[in-house]
């Protein structure tokens, strides 16, 4: 049976869905400081570089770092490329970002690599979407918003603007929320509209009594 909470006047709501707390659900993120960041152009070529300004421009780009991070976009430009600073990448057109079992799809994005790993991501779209594959392959948390920010220090996604979220069973709509990538929980300080579907309880198996066990 579903419960529906129309516009609950809640100032601060912590939404911790059943099962979300089991942090084992979310695949643990990896810190990759030894693998180079690779990029390549696809079929369209527009590569330009300015080494005085520390900028490059690319078309049809794929950025990868190891097996866990992969970014594709129609167009990309990077600035601030120098030692120990891997640059801020502005991506536009069919932006697709994968890292640590998280997928972001958007119209545009700003991606910051620093200290040889992905540090920040800001995506915009109408809407932009995220999903996170949990360790249980049948479970995937997903949401959408006007903008999504990834903060690697806190390991969270901040979704703002007409957000929508589901863990496959429960649904939440609110102006903004924060999604914790470690335990799959969400937090919102905005008014929340949501549908919470209680977990179906499987009846415990009956213990056979002595009379019928033979």
């Amino acid at each position: 049976m579903a419960r529906f909470f129309p516009d609950r006047g809640v100032v601060a709501v912590v939404l911790l869905f059943a099962g979300a707390l089991t942090s084992a659900l979310a695949a643990s993120p990896t810190l990759d400081k030894k693998t180079p960041i690779d990029w390549k152009e696809g079929e369209r070529h527009c590569f330009k570089a300015d080494f005085n300004a520390g900028t490059i421009t690319l078309c049809d780009v794929t950025l990868t770092q190891g097996a866990s991070t992969r970014i594709t976009a129609d167009n990309a430009s990077a600035k601030g490329l120098s030692d120990n600073n891997n640059g801020e990448w502005l991506l536009t057109g069919k932006v697709h970002i994968e890292f640590d079992n998280v997928i972001l799809d958007a119209d545009s994005a700003t991606v910051t690599f620093a200290q040889d790993r992905l540090q920040k991501v800001h995506v915009k779209g109408a809407p932009s979407r995220f999903s996170q594959q949990l360790k249980d392959p049948s479970r995937r948390n997903q949401g959408r918003a006007a903008t999504i920010d990834y903060d690697s220090q806190k390991d969270v996604l901040n979704l703002m603007g007409d957000t929508w979220y589901t863990d496959g069973r429960n649904v939440v709509e609110t102006a903004a929320f924060t999604y914790n990538l470690n335990d799959g929980s969400i937090f919102s300080s905005e008014r929340v509209k949501g549908t919470i579907q209680p977990e179906k309880r499987v009846p415990a198996p009956r213990t056979p009594d002595r009379a019928t066990s033979q």
Partner: protein, 194 residues
């Protein structure tokens, strides 16, 4: 007796001339293997081994310095060829050695009335763009280098290294004066090294 002394003197002079002639022709035979083009074996307008050439600008400042194991000017088209070339280039108006560009190649050819040097074999251009904190290096099997515009062009595979970034691809147009890559024809890819 006096007549004999004259004859002896003429014989000695003749021997010296003949010796000089044979020495000259054998030297030419030894250097024939290093000539860049067999069609040009007839003669060079000039040739020299282990050469250093310094080109100064109007203010008397060093513009470029060229070192080569062998350099020659071909008579047919006036092209200058060089082998095992090293060229140091000072950006115009700038005489900071840390920003001096250095080009090395197995061979180079500069056609007469042209500003474009055709560099071939292990070509490396290394220097620091004017506002860049880091040195950059272009390498390829061949480059056409425009002495006036400082544009490097290759149709071969290339690699460029700069500030922990590695770029590679096929077909490059770069301006080392401006510190820019203007075009890569195909297979542009790169790596940001940890």
């Amino acid at each position: 007796m006096r007549r004999w002394r004259w004859l002896l003197a003429i014989a000695v002079v003749g021997l010296i001339v003949a010796g000089a002639y044979f020495a000259g022709t054998s030297q030419q035979a030894r250097t024939a293997g290093t000539k860049p083009n067999d069609a040009d074996t007839a003669a060079y307008d000039y040739e020299a081994n282990t050469v250093t050439v310094r080109q100064m600008d109007a203010n008397g400042q060093l513009q470029y310095e060229l070192e080569a194991q062998h350099i020659a000017q071909l008579p047919q088209n006036g092209a200058v060829t060089a082998s095992m070339l090293t060229m140091h280039y000072d950006p115009p108006g700038q005489h900071d050695e840390s920003r001096r560009w250095k080009l090395t190649a197995d061979s180079a050819q500069l056609p007469e009335n042209s500003d474009i040097v055709a560099l071939k074999g292990h070509v490396v251009a290394r220097g620091r763009p004017s506002k860049s904190p880091a040195v950059m290096t272009f390498s390829s099997n061949s480059f056409d280098y425009n002495l006036k515009t400082q544009v490097l062009i290759t149709r071969d595979d290339f690699r460029a290294d700069w500030a922990g970034n590695r770029f590679s691809g096929r077909g490059l147009e770069a301006n080392i004066q401006r510190g820019t890559i203007e075009k890569v024809e195909s297979n542009a890819n790169g790596q940001i090294l940890p």
